[in-house]
Symmetry: C2
Subunit: 172 residues, 2 copies
DNA sequence: TATTGTTATACTCTATAACTATA
DNA sequence: TATAGTTATAGAGTATAACAATA
């Protein structure tokens, strides 16, 4: 028989990362494990669907989705920061996408070190389709949550992001 | 100069995955991108510290942390479900940890196909140290969030986890 | 027939670090 | 000196799928 895929694993069972936390553990840890579980749950499913439906991967989709909202293109260092991965990775993903005709490196006049990564027409068409589908997926996943719940969660996570980032840069 | 590591990237700048969302995007998508950003922020830092301080990786730590709360060991299929990865991966990680003397496969009488993965004494000592340190990190990251905020967030994410899981198993 | 776990394969993504070329 | 991007290297993690042993 075929082994279970992560997407299948996410579905039909209750235990997850969180299960390792015991009641005596502190709130912060349990909170973190719950965040991680939610993320893995959704992310596994998204990765699986991107592969099945569009023969692509999450980082590739992320890069193109970033570009979708930057009509004038982005520098690779910008992409690196936005996607929270190192420079060399962006080079690799860009190389692939360029080979597939999805993006192109456009030289700029004022700084000859850098170039702008832009979607081609083909890339733009393609990522628009994927992004629309992606958003539908997310809406389905979270659809049973009331708008108020989603808004509250959004704001609470904004606070979390802020304090976490503060902590991380404090000790840098 | 040395390229920035993900941990460094996470720190000193504002833009992130979320930045790709524009105001017209729907709430669910923006919520998802924010969750993802929070997770990446913390996860990158944890991965980096596990590597630096303990020469290990997140999946390896996760597996050992799971075992810490299962004194009688766990079957590999259990670990697979808990960690939300496929069977073969658990075999690989277990092989590594067994080679390092951190865990052992213990045969059980009633089902000769499976064995229980247990922490060795060495592994138990080691993971206890790591888990304590890991919890301290998390507490620091989230430390500036009030207890009420953390509790609210915890419950809200519980709801999210529930509805997401329902959605995912509904369409299975 | 179904399950547990292993193996083999191939691939993506990743960090690190040294490097080139600009600025 | 600092920045933008590339390259080389090496490794981890992953899915897929076929497989053996057992249930």
């Amino acid at each position: 028989m075929i082994a279970m895929s992560p997407a299948m694993i996410s579905k039909n069972i209750t235990p997850d990362l969180e299960t390792r936390a015991v009641p005596e553990d502190h709130l912060s840890l349990r909170l973190w494990l719950r965040i991680l579980t939610c993320t893995n749950l959704v992310e596994n499913e998204i990765r699986s669907r991107l592969r099945t439906d569009f023969s692509t991967t999450l980082p590739r989709f992320d890069l193109m989705a970033q570009l979708l909202h930057s009509p004038n293109g982005m520098k690779m260092s910008d992409l690196s920061r936005h996607m929270m991965v190192t420079n060399g990775n962006i080079t690799g993903i860009t190389d692939q996408l360029e080979k597939e005709g999805m993006v192109e490196r456009v030289k700029v006049a004022n700084d000859r070190r850098s170039s702008l990564i832009c979607l081609t027409m083909k890339g733009k068409r393609h990522v628009k389709k994927m992004a629309a589908q992606h958003e539908t997926w997310i809406q389905t996943f979270f659809g049973d949550l009331s708008e108020k719940s989603r808004k509250d969660l959004f704001h609470a996570l904004g606070e979390l992001k802020l304090v976490t980032r503060t902590q991380l840069s404090d000790k840098a």
